[in-house]
Symmetry: C3
Subunit: 351 residues, 3 copies
């Protein structure tokens, strides 16, 4: 389970400057506070600098400036957090699935499964699907008709792809995610909802990550599209016809309504909701639980909601918000009246 | 995969007035902007009228008024969006499952499965369950003891019904949905939560649609009830004992707390939350992410939340909201004082 | 399906004072309004006292004070709701799974499954996993490498545990829940997200309940930790490295961001969101849909958000909130000016 790698080897892999014993065996990673003498730690956030001196870590990834005063073994790198990200995969206890098809899997005669792919127990792969080399399809996954998974993909157990879902290379999908569900399309006929068939598909770029229980619906006519390098956390809802630009990241519980288009390099914090049929430009940051009801055309950070208060105070604020239009009118009125009797008469504009 | 239907046949199916070549083969549907010469499009929303003239669509579904100035082939109908909804199913690439039971399925000896039902791979059907004619149970579904699925239902792969879940006719359930989970019922005994068995079931009406990863809990004592024609999008939470009236629609990520009763023909936009033990009357529309903390007795539209702002401005607004009660009192005080010194003394009421 | 228990036996089980016919057969539980002559009901909430006199219930669980004026059969207890919780399990129609391993299950040679455990159809149990006595693993569950489930646990069908998930005794997990998913950890390298391996695990205490489709991610380095007696409802997101204290309860749709620590005996209503890296002390109550952006150090109730309004009024309030900083400054200005001309010059402080 536990890998053992010498400190010198880690330095070589990272291109880091080694200070200390290159023969020291490293068996894992931990924080400065929790690391033991066989573990590597890292100092990325300056607020943890206070833990460096007393850390029991066998070695520490840090910047040159922080290495100066540190007496223990260290690997000096330009970006310790990025170095930690790289090295973390060497110590990942995640089991590696062997290539080959589990005998219990049910695979359509005309599906194409590369011999270097791994197909787990109770997997179903339907007609015309294609699984490329180096792909792992975890146990209990369902791969619908004509769906495709590009090289090096990793599907955790119990991922569902409907038909006509096209996935790029090196895509990671966590358990419970569903791609290609039928979007919420209904026409109203005298109060009764008539279903609209969802005849588009889903297109996922390369190097995408999709979290636990996240749903990405198929398009109504054309495809729902997720760009390259997009990272989607758990419990996210992506409705039909949405487009998400390259390298955009969304934290958990976001909901994106139908036909909305999100730019590149955006970041959505947890619980953000977007209405349908709007466009968000590149490089937008939305803070947690923001409700977005119109397009955003300027990069930058945006928010909605109110700050938390003790509940008793909150009830007063909430009641006052409902009186706010009245308050604003009364303030304007007062300004006018005070303007009549005070020397510097003109009040500020009402906006 | 691709159906081909002559324009004349489509006119006949829809009862539409055909203008143009009845022999023209139609192979699919697309928007006015994306449709090619073998595709049918539609003009429903007036804001897309600008795309009509330049559309490459082989034919267009439109109203008589819009057909006047249009030179291409067309099908004239009273409601183009509804016509598109109807015709969409003819071009749906969704695979049709053959009747019969997959040999890998595990079915209790006393379960009743109609010979005209289709049961997929790795399905489990428990004791006393009943599957009617024309039902499709997708691969990896679980149908608990005594649960029933009415005629013509369609369960996508990996849907879970616990025991005693009764489903009407023509119900569609997307992957990952769970019906009949044990609701959140606990009695607090000196700080420790004691579980209450959830002994009710779930009753789902006819023509209901349930989205990806949506959860509908069983009742604590009586059933949780979903009316006829209700449409639930993805990632929705319906707690125990909730009742949802006929033809109500909820967009994704809504959460309905226990014992709340929602009327008929309501519409809940995405991310709406309702507290428990309240009643919403018929014909209520709740805008996105609204928090509903008390019953609604008048039809109409309701909202909560704040409008999005650039984060720097939002921080100021959020801070001011916490001062709002103080501001309101100061405003009232000012009005009184200004009333003492100005001619039109009486300020407006505090509400 | 239906248990029949004599009223005298129920009195004995509960240690209740029986008033009435100890031979009366009880076949189920129902509310005061819905109970029939063979059903037991309960009066816990004083607001339902009005239904007592006309109830058709065969017997009622109630307090001594309420029993005085009641003519029907009754079981007098100190806490009727708690008594109902205890007795409810006797009437639970949930099927009991027999001990043993379903022949379709795929179990690694070195996994340890106690003979008194029940393993359902299409279950996968991977290398080194351990399933204790009295555990039920429902159909289609996946138990990853080295994961452990303590005595008396109950997993509904289709629950997924990744590798290295350690679960205490008597833990209940509903369908669709995923424990041990890879948390959302990425380092940004010039706009491109580099994945950080999630090498920690998940530790779940005793007597925990986890709802439908809830996700609990594994830790990035150390474990994500859920304390004893914690109750998590449906559709919840627990991010990597979160710690939840003993006996805390969360209603559906809550989202807890990474590394946040929640105390003991807290209650989170539905849809609450917490940002990452904060601490919530013991005995905190968060009302529905509250957004928590900083640590809480004092026990008590907290809220955010705005109260619902008719949409037309809401639009005005929402517009005014964006003007609030301007309004506050104008109010301050007015106070200063009015202070110059009125007798009691000093306005209340701005802060």
């Amino acid at each position: 389970m536990t890998a053992t790698i010498k400190l010198g080897q880690l330095a070589e892999i990272l291109g880091a400057t080694l200070r200390g014993n290159e023969e020291k065996p490293i068996t894992g990673l931990a924080t400065l506070q929790e690391a033991g003498p066989a573990q590597l730690s890292f100092l990325a956030n300056p607020q943890y600098r206070k833990y460096l001196a007393d850390s029991q870590a066998g070695a520490v990834l840090l910047k040159a400036a922080d290495a100066e005063g540190y007496g223990g073994d260290s690997l000096v790198v330009a970006d310790p957090y990025l170095a930690y990200a790289r090295i973390s995969h060497l110590f990942d206890p995640k089991p590696k699935a062997p290539a080959g098809i589990h005998p219990s899997a049910v695979i359509a005669a005309d599906a194409q499964v590369d011999p270097a792919a791994s197909i787990g127990a109770f997997v179903v792969i339907e007609s015309g699907a294609r699984i490329a080399a180096g792909v792992t399809v975890g146990a209990q996954c369902f791969i619908g008709a004509r769906s495709e998974i590009g090289e090096g993909g990793w599907l955790a157990p119990r991922v569902t792809l409907y038909h006509d879902v096209r996935i790029g290379k090196r895509v990671v999908i966590q358990s419970g995610a569903v791609l290609g569900g039928e979007g919420f399309g209904f026409a109203n006929e005298k109060g009764v909802w008539q279903k609209i068939a969802q005849i588009g598909g889903v297109t996922i770029g390369d190097d995408v990550e999709i979290g636990v229980n996240t749903a990405i619906d198929r398009g109504a006519l054309a495809d729902t599209i997720i760009g390259n390098g997009v990272k989607l956390d758990n419990q996210i809802q992506i409705a039909h016809n949405v487009q998400v630009g390259d390298h955009t990241a969304m934290a958990a519980c976001c909901g994106i309504s139908g036909s909305t288009k999100i730019g590149k390099h955006c970041m959505l914090a947890g619980g953000v909701g977007l209405v349908g049929h709007i466009e968000i430009c590149d490089n937008v940051f939305l803070t947690g639980m923001t409700m977005v009801t119109h397009s955003i055309t300027e990069p930058g950070a945006y928010s909605s909601g109110t700050a938390m208060q003790p509940a008793a105070e909150w009830r007063k604020s909430a009641a006052r918000i409902r009186q706010l239009d009245d308050m604003a009118r009364r303030l304007r009125q007062l300004e006018k009246r005070v303007g009549d009797v005070t020397p510097d008469g003109n009040a500020s504009s009402d906006g």
